[in-house]
């Protein structure tokens, strides 16, 4: 009978991690877990599946098409989580609502989304991130941005740029010209699709003075350093946008205290794919990677959707994307230590087991031969398996 070849495939958009790849993933995850703990963030774990209604609440409407859905025993639709912010918001509102604020939580999990699969963009992917629930202050926003930068540095990356924006700046500008809800939605949709040609066409159709049109057309192009923030006050003729700029200026002042300002640029036209963001938003880009490494921001209303109003901010780092950026930037690849290979002559099994135990006790990673070998054969095994040291019991 011919073997069914389809059994050997794995589903679309998923991948295996072979030992070297899994080691790289493990190293990055371990370093991030340590870092989050050092910053006082406690890890939480939530189920891989949630009710569809939970995941598509509030700002998440429209995510349905990107979810992996299935039915539970009662025929309710459940879905694999597509990100961790919503499950954690649910967890905080229903299980930790009486905990003293601020709450600082972290996670390292796989999430699932239907995507057109390509390297670093699978349907199942791994994210590490934090959520900070508590005062909606610039201090909390600055902390999560600084922690994201530290996380990337700790992961081994050196070259990357954080683009920092504020959704209220954009909303304020759209409001200042008294645009209707539909007009605002159309302009935002064009920006979200990164279609500046369409944005220009839409703006041209609006009944607005020429200088107002110029401002709207420029929105996606407000990208630059500290000086950009200052010049943005000239076009922000409303309280909402000015407050957003004040907020960014204060976050930036604190980022200087964290000594990470050299990684930060302002991008006032930034639009994040999830519409639940309400304040500061950011994305991190690295050369060699065609999509962001990390994204995050403030989402003050999401918890209220679950019944416990509380401001919140956070970010998610893409683990595979970090690994891919390390590879593409030709930085040293992460691997786990392989310290000692223990080989032994015939009849020396007991001594070899004892020796291996002793070395492991000292914190070394030790591979014990599975059968007796000559010293030459054992030496060969050590080299083949890339162990740093060699012990032979004869």
């Amino acid at each position: 009978m011919e073997k069914d070849r389809s059994l050997l495939k794995i589903p679309y958009g998923t991948r295996d991690f072979l030992p070297a790849e899994a080691a790289g993933k493990r190293v990055v995850e371990t370093r991030l877990a340590e870092l989050f703990a050092q910053w006082g963030y406690e890890e939480v774990v939530t189920p891989s599946i949630e009710y569809l209604d939970t995941l598509s609440l509030g700002g998440n409407r429209g995510i349905g098409n990107h979810l992996f859905k299935l039915f539970d025993k009662e025929n309710k639709t459940v879905a694999l989580r597509h990100e961790m912010t919503t499950p954690i918001a649910r967890l905080v509102s229903t299980r930790l609502q009486d905990s003293p604020l601020p709450l600082k939580l972290s996670y390292i999990s796989s999430v699932f989304r239907y995507e057109q699969a390509q390297a670093g963009r699978q349907c199942e992917f791994y994210q590490a991130g934090v959520e900070l629930m508590g005062p909606g202050s610039p201090a909390t926003d600055a902390e999560v941005v600084a922690l994201a930068v530290s996380g990337l540095l700790r992961s081994g990356l050196t070259e990357f740029t954080v683009c920092l924006g504020q959704v209220e700046f954009l909303n304020g500008i759209l409001n200042q010209y008294r645009l209707s809800e539909q007009e605002q939605a159309d302009l935002k949709a064009a920006m979200e699709r990164r279609n500046l040609v369409e944005l220009n066409q839409l703006v041209e159709q609006l009944q607005l003075p020429e200088n107002a049109k110029q401002v709207l057309k420029k929105l996606p192009l407000l990208n630059g350093g500290e000086e950009l923030l200052k010049s943005a006050y000239d076009i922000a003729l409303n309280e909402q946008s000015r407050r957003a700029l004040d907020n960014l200026a204060e976050i930036y002042r604190l980022l200087k205290a964290y000594k990470v300002e050299q990684y930060v640029r302002f991008d006032l036209g930034i639009i994040r794919d999830f519409s639940y963001y309400t304040g500061m938003v950011f994305e991190v880009y690295a050369p060699g990677l065609g999509y962001p490494l990390c994204g995050g921001g403030r989402y003050d209303h999401l918890l209220a959707d679950f019944g416990t109003a509380c401001p919140a901010t956070g970010f998610a780092l893409g683990i595979e994307r970090i690994l891919l950026a390390i590879e593409r930037q030709k930085l040293p690849m992460h691997s786990l230590p392989r310290d000692v290979y223990v080989g032994y002559a015939a009849g020396k099994e007991t001594e070899a087991i004892e020796k291996a135990a002793q070395l492991r006790e000292q914190g070394k990673s030790v591979e014990l031969a599975v059968n007796s070998q000559t010293e030459t054969a054992a030496k060969e095994s050590q080299q083949q398996k890339n162990y740093a040291a060699f012990v032979y019991i004869s």
Binding site: Q118, E159, T161, C163, R193, R194, N195, L196, V197, E198, N200, L221, N223, G224, R265, D267, E283, Y285, A286, P287, G288, L289, G290, Y291, P292, R328, Q329, K330
Partner: protein, 220 residues
């Protein structure tokens, strides 16, 4: 990686858009020795100005840009719509004007568009066609062809075609008649979403320079 950041890589499509794009880019100082779509070299560099050109098959330009193998590229809106890539669309370059339309054999023209529901349509643009017919509440059978689309109805492969038209000569020569226009298309400047952020200053000034040249030409 440092050197990668210094260069700006531009993907240009072979064929009719190539000459127009290259000429326009040259006007703003973006050119390289031996830049031609007939060149056997696939990458043409200008070391002094840190520019690299990739000359590729038309339909591949959005792919190069989406993956970041090229930072920016020039491509027709028709191809861009068909491939649905996640890229920045920065500038309407004005040239390469054409439109996507549905045409049927003149002799067998039916009264309403709806009369073509559940018929076969031959096209190089199945995505755009499907989106269009879905909006009309129509279900069609799409037959993907890679060239000589007009042949479809003539040999009885399909009842209609969806294709791009510049002058309409080919349609007339094949006794086909346009019955509905779907989309206007011109050449667009596109950018990789990360390159646009990381090389913002350079790409932004390139766009502004191009815009000025285009406006000056339009004014003439």
């Amino acid at each position: 990686m440092k050197s990668e950041m210094e260069y700006l890589t531009i993907a240009l499509p072979k064929g009719k858009l190539f000459g127009l794009s290259a000429r326009l880019l040259e006007k703003i100082g973006y050119t390289a020795e031996g830049l031609s779509d007939k060149s056997r070299k696939l990458i043409i560099s200008n070391e002094e100005k840190k520019i690299r050109f990739i000359v590729s098959k038309t339909a591949d330009v959005p792919t190069y840009v989406e993956y970041g193998a090229a930072d920016i590229g020039v491509i027709g809106k028709d191809v861009l719509l068909e491939t649905e890539k996640d890229v920045y669309e920065l500038l309407d370059m004005g040239f390469g004007k054409c439109h996507l339309m549905m045409a049927v054999p003149k002799a067998e023209k039916r009264a309403k568009l709806m009369d073509y529901n559940h018929t076969r349509v031959a096209t190089k643009f199945p995505h755009i066609a499907e989106k269009f017919f879905r909006q009309q509440g129509m279900q069609m059978e799409y037959i993907k062809l890679n060239g000589s689309i007009e042949l479809g109805p003539i040999v009885g492969l399909s009842e209609s075609i969806v294709d791009i038209v510049e002058t309409g000569t080919t349609l007339r020569e094949n006794d086909l008649e346009e019955i509905v226009s779907i989309q206007e298309a011109t050449a667009r400047l596109i950018a990789n979403r990360v390159s646009f952020k990381l090389k913002f200053d350079r790409i932004h000034s390139l766009v502004e320079d191009l815009r000025k040249v285009l406006e000056a030409e339009a004014a003439q």
